[in-house]
């Protein structure tokens, strides 16, 4: 479909020649045509996801997580070492705004150059030239060489040109807003308009608030791998917990992949994250009577039990449990802080139980995630992302995930009682207020 992005199994390896010298014929000849020693690293590994037309997807992750590499590969710059990328429709990019601006040329000349570089034809630039100038608020300066512009004016001009593209897929790398506060707000409004017009947006940013404001889904990358891809709220919570300064990039304690009962592989960096100083062990999904709950009846009780194993004594750790729908949206999220439980000093192992009296979920399949966090949510010890699965038997309309006790009934005819009149009277009164 036009405007969609399909990335499947993409890996990208970069070769770095030893030393920072650029290669030359001379060197190649002198080294007797032996291949110059290189070491390579994987910038992306086995990345797969799909973006539907008109969705906006944010990419988060630390520096070097592979965000920009992914963005450029999607833009057709370079070729993945492995896997395929399908982008349907015209691509536009909002990045490196300064690229292609020439100091000695006038604002007007630069609009045309930046426009064609951004992917517009000259006719297209001409037709929205006035709009570009008005948006940039630079009407009086267009005949002046831009070496006389302030850096803010240059950025406004460049952003304004780039924001007038009408691509099917818009790739944005960090430059969502430029200039002063007033202009930044204008930039964000413009992006929102582009999004509303049905353009698919792929946004790389470090600014959590912008991602939360603009994105439908978020892709969390870590060292070139997809940690998780799902609804903004859920992924950003995980990212922010993970990105807390106390947390090391790698687990402090070596951790091997575990095979969970049910066959799923629990692997650090894939569906497990955190420093591992406290580990979540032996997760049990149970019926209230203690039997293993692979399937529950809608409205029935549900118990989650797990052990926390501390590798060193920790203070006031926190634990959370989240129930997700199949597509990753959280439907229930709670933690020991909400539950008023203080874990105190954790020295060895402690078992925790979360009893849910009734789980009024619609029929379907659900996943459970759980996490163990540092005191005051300062960082993440361990997180099992949607590793545990159970199903709910019950009515399901295809939308929504709640199934509280509910009943339909027919109201008595309105004319036979005064009730209907009273309702109308109340409504008109309400409108009058």
């Amino acid at each position: 479909m036009r405007g969609s992005i399909v990335v499947s199994g993409v890996s990208k390896r970069f070769k770095r020649s030893s030393g920072d010298k650029l290669s030359s014929f001379k060197e190649t000849v002198l080294s007797g045509f032996r291949p110059i020693e290189t070491h390579s690293f994987w910038a992306l590994q086995d990345v797969s996801f799909t973006v539907q037309k008109g969705r906006s997807v944010g990419v988060v992750g630390r520096n070097g997580a592979g965000k920009s590499t992914l963005l450029r590969l999607i833009g057709g710059v370079g070729k993945p070492t492995d896997g395929t990328i399908d982008v349907h429709g015209r691509i536009g990019a909002l990045l490196d705004l300064n690229a292609g601006l020439s100091d000695d040329l006038t604002g007007k000349e630069n609009v045309f150059i930046a426009g064609v570089i951004a992917g517009m034809t000259r006719a297209e630039v001409r037709s929205c030239y006035d709009s570009i100038v008005t948006f940039a608020e630079l009407e009086p300066f267009m005949e002046m060489p831009i070496r006389t512009y302030s850096s803010g004016m240059r950025m406004r001009l460049a952003f304004s040109v780039a924001a007038h593209m009408s691509p099917d897929v818009l790739l944005i790398d960090e430059v969502l807003a430029v200039g002063d506060l007033h202009f930044q707000r204008k930039c964000l409004e413009r992006i929102a308009t582009i999004k509303a017009s049905g353009t698919t947006i792929f946004l790389v940013s470090h600014d959590s608030s912008q991602i939360r404001a603009l994105c439908d889904e978020v892709l969390l990358l870590k060292q070139g791998r997809v940690i998780t891809y799902g609804p903004t709220q859920a992924v950003m919570d995980l990212y922010e917990a993970d990105a807390a300064p106390a947390l090391e990039d790698r687990p402090n304690i070596a951790v091997e992949a575990e095979r969970l009962p049910g066959g799923r592989l629990l692997q650090h960096g894939v569906n497990r994250s955190g420093s591992q100083e406290v580990q979540i062990k032996a997760v049990r999904l149970l019926h209230p009577d203690g039997g293993t709950a692979r399937t529950i009846v809608s409205g029935g009780g549900f118990v989650v039990e797990f052990d926390l194993l501390a590798k060193r004594p920790v203070h006031s750790a926190l634990a959370s449990v989240t129930i997700h729908t199949r597509d990753g949206s959280p439907c229930f999220d709670t933690n020991t802080e909400i539950g008023g439980m203080n874990l105190g000093v954790l020295t060895d192992s402690v078992g925790l139980r979360l009893s849910i009296d009734r789980l009024d979920l619609a029929g379907g399949e659900y996943f459970v995630s759980m996490g163990a966090y540092l005191q005051g949510w300062q960082g993440l010890y361990d997180y099992h992302d949607r590793c545990y699965e159970f199903s709910v038997v019950g009515p399901h309309s295809g939308r929504g995930f709640m199934n509280p006790p509910s009943a339909w009934s027919r109201l008595p005819p309105a004319s036979s009682t005064g009730k209907g009149d009273a309702g109308t009277a109340w409504h008109s009164k309400g409108a009058g207020r």
């Binding site: 990045l95 000695d104 000349e109």
Partner: protein, 270 residues
């Protein structure tokens, strides 16, 4: 889908047509930018582009008419034609080395058609040739040369030179990304080629046993054709020119293929 740098699965005919229009507009704007930047802040402006070949012409004309007489009739216009066409060629090929490496931010840009960049170096050098043409005609006429209907095939000869030069430009631009001493090799090679090509001497003096080598040199064939048109007012000889056109197309196709293969790794190597 192969992630080509030029177009990302445009699919429909209209989109492909649009991509061509865009590439043309892009080339136009970037050539104009290069010319404007070069001449905007100089008093003489675009006239500078003529001074370099002019000085060379004056030196050569003095040298080979007054000092070491080569006995070539209408030597001023003879050397004028040679130097102008040669300057276009050698200027384009030597600056092509930087077509990719000095435009890193454009090459790394999603959706940017990288293949336009070497064409821009050839075209902006070609602009100087075109601008000098009227002056060349004036000199020819003053020098007693004849100009006639054969001028009509000048664009075809220029197109052949464009194709040949562009093929080499693709090759040089792509190679320079991998091997940064390509620029030095290219300037040495063009200097050697300058003496192997009848720029300031006539192809008539080439000994018969080397004549085949002479015809294997596309620039020699091109210069002969230019001189037939601009000095003698006759149609250039068809067979070498047809061979040249075919050879130019082959060079261009090879250069583009190589460029396309190597362009996939440009972004990470510059």
């Amino acid at each position: 889908m192969a992630a080509l740098p030029s177009s990302i699965s445009f699919g429909t005919e209209g989109a492909r047509c649009r991509a061509w229009v865009h590439a043309r507009d892009l080339a136009y704007e970037l050539v104009m930018r290069e010319l404007k930047i070069r001449y905007k802040r100089s008093a003489l402006g675009i006239a500078w582009s003529l001074l370099n070949p002019l000085s060379q012409i004056i030196i050569l004309a003095f040298l080979f008419r007054s000092v070491l007489d080569l006995n070539i009739p209408h030597y001023a216009s003879f050397v004028f034609v040679g130097v102008l066409a040669w300057t276009w060629f050698s200027g384009a090929v030597t600056t092509a080395a930087f077509a990719i490496t000095s435009n890193a931010e454009l090459v790394r840009r999603p959706g940017f058609p990288t293949y336009v960049l070497p064409l821009i170096t050839v075209a902006s050098n070609g602009v100087h040739f075109v601008l000098a043409l009227p002056m060349m005609l004036v000199v020819t006429v003053l020098d007693g040369g004849r100009v006639g209907a054969s001028l009509l095939c000048l664009p075809a000869v220029m197109a052949a030179q464009f194709a040949f030069t562009a093929g080499l430009a693709y090759f040089v631009a792509a190679t320079h990304v991998r091997f940064r001493d390509t620029q030095h090799l290219v300037s040495i090679a063009t200097m050697l080629a300058f003496y192997l090509t009848p720029v300031f001497y006539s192809s008539a003096v080439v000994p018969a046993q080397y004549r085949f080598l002479h015809y294997a040199n596309p620039m020699a064939v091109l210069l002969d054709a230019y001189r037939s048109i601009l000095m003698d007012g006759v149609w250039p000889s068809l067979v070498p020119l047809a061979g040249l056109t075919i050879a130019s197309c082959c060079v261009l196709a090879t250069g583009m293929l190589l460029f396309r293969r190597m362009s996939l790794s440009f972004a990470e190597e510059i």
